[in-house]
Amino acid sequence: MNQNKKVQTILGVIGILVFGVIMFLILTPGKVKETYTAKVGFILSGSIDEAGWNGMHYNGVKEACDKLNAELLVKENVLEFSGQCTEAVEELVEEGANMIILSSYGYSEEVKDIVKQYPEVMFYANSFEYKDENMTPYFVRMYQVRYLSGIIAGMQTMTNKIGYVAAMPNNEVNRGISAFTLGVRSVNPEAKVIVAWTRTWDNEEIEKKAAFDLIEKEGVDMITYHQNQPYAIEVAEEKDVMSIGYHQVFDQFSDNYMTSIVCNWNIVYEEVLQEFLRGKGKDVEYFWLGIRKDAVELSEYSSKVSKEAIEAIEKAKEQMQKSAVVFVGPIYDTEGNLHCGEKELISDEMLLKHFDWYVEGVEFYEE
């Protein structure tokens, strides 16, 4: 009897063990196929609540991340060339980011030496200045809308003098000035674009002074800018001068505020993120989305914008959709050199990296 019980106990234990092992094997989840989820590090020079450039970018990246189920890590108020950017990168890598978006123009130059230290991390820089195996530039074909806003400016100006407050000369700013000028002159070959350099991205005093000078001293009746904040428009409003906004839509301004250049960063970031997730991050040379993908557009026009202007814009837009409009030859620079022959097209390569010139019709305000 005793032995019998012993046998039963042993059997029971074995049974339970076998059962346990089998259940363990069955209930252990199979190797879940790892879908490459992105942990997006996002560095911006201002605050995420800021109405201008930084806020727009943040909202765009946020939207894209939400859409594609990516985790977003944000580093705010990282000043350019302050050394904070590399620190931010280090922190983000530590936090596990496998993709870092550098949303300010100067960042790529700052991090160009350290990206190689993080081969596992993909960098996306909002600048075509520096490029690396794991650092891909992205931007919008802002020039397309600059061109279109130029059409409005060319049509609306009375003085044929249009003011342009610009931060500093670089490929991007130069390209914008040139495209704008090309747009102005496509409808008003007499008009001139006067550029006032501020040498800063965000300085109210300087920018306002520049705008003020352009209006007061140069006598421009239309003003646009390439800065983070719309200080120039404020001055234009004060002086009752027409203006065109930049990557922000404003409600507070009068009819003199014609329209604004709008970038749909969410579309850009979505594309960037998607390509990254598809594993093509390294294959794509650069992301440069334009009007065809609705990455850029003009906001609602002011009632002052003439029908002719709108028609001209629509026509140009249509052309842009299927072929090319802006940098199609013949194009001459300020020196009178032919930069692009008849029926030729300036390649993206040249537009992005070698835009150290200005098209004919660009003048500079000098104090």
């Binding site: 199979g30 998607q274 598809r278 090319a324 199609v328 022959g341 030729e344 097209l345 390649s347 040249m350």
Partner: protein, 955 residues
């Protein structure tokens, strides 16, 4: 038990059932789990392969640019004449298998080939921006475009266009040898390269633009965030997959049936399940085996219990038999011992005859008990054959002696024919051989009313073996043919109606048959109903001494002559014997038996004193009782063997016990005794034992010749011997005979020597008259003795015709006459003695009124002298303190032994009440019924004390 079994079995079976169900569930889960794992694995495999395929496709597509790039490089170099360009383009076109080549300007017009519409192919615009790209239009086909630079700017775009049908053929993809369906689609889900199998499920669920199946949507979603994806469709049992093709905006997508991917894999699943199933079967078999085993174990357990019960019952039976045997043997011991004494010492013919009757009856009783014991031994399979060397003549002597008496009683002629040439000493179980022969002869005598019993002993010698043939033929009732089978059955008695008057247990023949078989012999029966039967036993016996036994009849006749009276078989005045028994009476009996052998007898009553005596004195034989208080016989024996100083080291140790049950002999021999003697001790057995073990030089055998030569002389001698003895031994019953009386007897005896038949008559008459006169005198003087005197008178009266009859017998020989006269003489003497005793008895017996003197005296041959002695020894033995001690120490084992002794000794002195009480206590102690002991101890002890104090005042 059975119910419990079935319940536990039910539980077991339901347990097993549940377990098996669980196992099957596990198997099912395991299968699905395995499937899941395999599908995961297969998905991975599919993904890997589709990625490879996508790479290959990408490569293939890129190859298309190769030649175009060569041309482009050439065209980039500078302003070429339009003729030159055309020439180059023509060569390119010639090599482009089925594709159309062209070079277009920004406005869409062509320098070479067909102009293209910008809106048809997104690639044209992209190429004008500087990209090398493939674009697709559903209607127009696949377009490969390259920018042609003029300096830094793009001037033309070089294209290569494959029409849809050509694309289909050129970029056809085979996957899994065409068993899978693969197609290339662009991001608008336009099918660029369709699969060959157009009418398959694939198109239903996957490729149709309108209908996005669940799987398709899922796959599409996955493709948004990864380069490749595979999903498994349970519904269709296929894998749907997709993979991006390198730099293009195209992707590979398709389906593949599960079984194609799985191929060998499901064999593994099958194998695993098979193995699992095998284990399951093994497990079930194991469980079944355990169940069977369990059942067997339970059965075995049950059998064991049954066996234990049976053994218990058997043991109870054995115990009962042992007890009974002990209980019966103890009184028989006294009966036979005392009777033997009478036979030895009493010369009164009548009394000797009575005594002989007692002897035969008691030995009958003993044989019945022995029969039952033998039967129980046979039943228990413990009957053992103990071989010794023995004298055949002695054995036959015993047998014939015994049967002769019986035959004579029934007036049967007992004829003996014994082959003279039989060997004298044989080796075999003497006791059993004797038993067999006696049984057969007894039977013959029992069942023969008239006629004769013929006893024929013959044998055949074969080398060292004697095939002893014993035939017993009778003229009895015979055995019916139909009863033959029952002959050797237990308790079977045939023809009961007819044989009602024949006594017996019905065991005799059964035992005989068994014994014969055990001795490798045969027992044959020939019988004719109403005429007679012949029993023939054949027993193989080893020959120890081949010397012929000679004429047995002659020897027997002479033996019979000598046997008329008891005489000791030998004398050994130098032999020393120690007898150890806690029971004084037993000592007395043994001592008396040995009186005539002149052996120096020492007695003691405990193991301890035995050891002390052995240490100092050299004894030849030690008779050791088993059941003794304190140290028992076995322990005493063991200690004696360990003793350093032991004068009696070489003494023969003989166990003495009333235990005569199965295996006792073997037990004693195993414990180290040399031999074993069961109570009741018989004189001749004791003497035989002594003769066997005493050193030969000490033994002076009895001189038989004298007796045979001159009977008169021997008779005279005998008579005088008895007288002498009476003088010598004051313990003797007839010690009180006075000198003058002795003289008269001697005188009378002298007279007898010479008187004739006539004279004898006169003498008898005279004697009777004298007795009558004496009686009258006594009546006058002692009225109190009247009753007893009258009794004596009556006795004499009854004797009268007997004596007269004897006298009247004319054929009476001198040899026959003499013992009778001696007996008569003795009787006379006794009469006188009795008178004497009565006088004293009045005083003593009166004083002993608190005892059952009748019983007491009956144990002491009605000898007051002996009785007194017994009483004295009873008083001396006084176990009062010991019993008290054991009781207080709660040593129930020793207590039991003591009260056992008290029981028998008390009975022997006639303290029947005390005996009963002691018996009660003994049984209680045996049964460990302590409560009973506590309840009755004090009373018994009080009673005991009373008797002791009274006895001490009287004696």
């Amino acid at each position: 038990m059975k119910n419990k079994n079935t319940v536990s079995r039910k539980i077991l079976f339901s347990g097993i059932f549940i377990f098996i169900v669980i196992l099957i569930m596990i198997a099912v889960l395991l299968k699905s789990k395995m499937n899941e794992l395999f599908i995961d694995y297969m998905s991975e495999q599919v993904t890997i392969q589709i990625e490879l395929l996508a790479d290959a496709t990408d490569e293939k597509l890129n190859m298309e640019f190769k030649k175009m790039e060569g041309v482009a490089a050439f065209l980039n170099t500078g302003e070429l004449g339009i003729e030159k360009v055309r020439e180059i383009m023509t060569t390119l076109e010639g090599e482009a298998e089925g594709a159309s080549i062209g070079l277009i300007k920004l406005n869409g017009s062509a320098i070479y080939g067909k102009p293209l519409n910008f809106s048809d192919f997104s690639g044209i615009q992209e190429s004008f921006r500087g990209k090398r790209i493939i674009s697709y239009n559903k209607e127009k086909g696949m377009l490969f475009t390259l920018p042609i630079y003029r300096g830094d700017n793009i001037k033309y775009v070089l294209y290569k266009l494959y029409k849809t049908d050509i694309v289909q053929e050129r970029f056809k993809i085979e996957y899994y040898d065409g068993q899978a369906e693969v197609q290339i689609i662009n991001r608008n889900h336009d099918v660029i390269v369709a699969d060959g199998h157009s009418e398959t499920e694939c198109l239903d669920f996957f490729c149709s633009d309108e209908h996005f199946s669940e799987e398709h949507e899922k796959l599409d979603k996955m493709m948004q965030v990864s380069m490749s994806a595979t999903i498994y469709s349970k519904k269709h049992k296929m894998f749907a997959f997709a993979a991006e093709i390198g730099h293009t905006e195209m992707r590979l997508t398709g389906t593949i049936p599960e079984e194609i991917v799985a191929e060998g894999l499901f064999k593994i699943v099958f194998l695993i399940l098979w193995v699992f199933g095998l284990f399951l079967v093994l497990f079930i078999v194991g469980i079944c085996y355990i169940v069977v085993l369990d059942t067997k174990v339970q059965e075995r357990e049950w059998l064991r219990l049954e066996k234990m019960n049976a053994e218990k019952a058997n043991k109870a039976k054995s115990d009962f038999l042992a007890n009974m045997s002990h209980e019966i043997r103890t009184p028989i011991n006294a009966v036979m011992g005392m009777n033997e004494m009478i036979l030895r010492e009493c010369k009164d013919e009548n009394i000797v005859e009575y005594s002989q009757n007692i002897q035969s009856a008691s030995s009958n009783l003993l044989s019945i008990i022995n029969d039952i014991l033998d039967f129980s031994k046979i039943e228990a399979g413990k009957m053992e054959i103990v071989e010794v060397s023995y004298y055949l003549s002695s054995l036959l002597n015993d047998v014939v002696n015994m049967i002769q008496i019986k035959a004579n009683q029934k007036n049967l002629k007992f004829e003996i024919k014994i082959n003279k040439s039989l060997p004298s000493i044989l080796w075999g179980d003497e006791v059993r051989v004797r038993q067999v022969i006696i049984n057969i002869l007894n039977n013959a005598v029992k069942y023969t009313k008239e006629g004769s019993v013929f006893f024929d002993v013959d044998g055949e010698i074969e080398e060292n073996m004697l095939y002893l043939k014993i035939a017993v033929k009778d003229t009895g009732i015979g055995i019916k043919e139909e009863d033959r089978g029952k002959l050797f059955g237990h308790f079977e008695r045939l023809d009961i109606e007819k044989n009602r008057n024949v006594e017996g247990t019905g065991l005799g023949l059964a035992i005989t048959y068994n014994l014969v078989q055990q001795m490798n012999g045969t027992l044959d029966v020939e019988s004719e109903y109403g005429v007679g039967s012949t029993f023939t036993v054949r027993l193989p016996q080893k020959i120890e001494d081949g010397a012929e036994i000679g004429d047995f009849q002659e020897k027997y006749r002479s033996y019979m002559k000598s046997k008329k009276e008891y005489h000791e078989s030998f004398q050994a005045p130098d032999a020393k014997v120690l007898i150890v028994d806690d029971n004084n009476m037993n000592l007395l009996v043994v001592k008396n038996f040995l009186k005539k052998t002149m052996v120096q007898v020492t007695t003691c009553q405990s193991g301890q004193s035995c050891l002390e005596l052995m240490e100092q004195n050299k004894y030849h034989i030690v008779f050791l009782d088993h059941m003794m208080p304190g140290m028992d016989g076995i322990e005493t024996l063991k200690q004696s063997k360990q003793m350093q100083v032991n004068a009696s080291k070489d003494a023969i140790m003989v166990a003495l016990t009333a235990n005569a049950i199965v295996g006792v002999r073997e037990m004693y021999l195993a414990e180290g005794f040399d031999d074993y003697l069961s109570k009741p001790v018989r004189g001749h057995e004791l003497e035989e034992m002594m003769r066997k073990y005493l050193p030969e030089e000490l033994v002076i055998p009895y001189q038989e010749d004298v007796n045979v030569e001159d009977n008169n002389e021997s008779n005279k001698e005998n008579a005088s011997e008895i007288v002498q003895e009476k003088e010598q031994n004051k313990e003797n019953v007839s010690e009180i005979v006075k000198e003058d009386k002795e003289k008269t007897i001697t005188e009378q005896k002298d007279l007898l020597e010479n008187i004739s038949r006539e004279q004898l008559k006169e003498i008898v008459k005279e004697l009777l008259g004298e007795i009558e006169r004496e009686r009258e005198k006594e009546i006058k003087t002692e009225p109190i003795e009247q009753v007893q005197s009258i009794e004596i008178m009556k006795e004499i009266e009854t004797m009268k015709p007997v004596t007269e009859e004897i006298i009247d017998k004319k054929e009476m020989t001198v040899e026959e006459e003499f013992p009778k006269t001696t007996i008569e003489n003795r009787k006379e003497n006794e009469n006188e003695e009795i008178e004497e005793i009565k006088e004293e008895e009045v005083g003593l017996l009166e004083k002993l009124s608190f005892l059952d003197t009748q019983t007491g005296l009956s144990y002491c041959c009605d000898s007051e002298e002996f009785y007194e002695e017994v009483l004295r020894s009873y008083l001396e033995e006084n176990h009062y303190e010991e019993i008290r001690q054991y009781y207080e120490n709660e040593d129930w084992n020793n207590y039991m032994i003591q009260v056992h002794a008290l029981k028998s000794t008390s009975l022997s002195i006639g303290a029947t009440e005390l005996s009963k009480q002691a018996k009660g206590l003994e049984f209680a102690a045996k049964a460990e019924d302590i409560a009973y002991i506590h309840q009755n101890h004090e009373e018994t002890m009080k009673h005991y004390n009373e008797i002791l104090t009274k006895l001490s005042t009287i004696l």
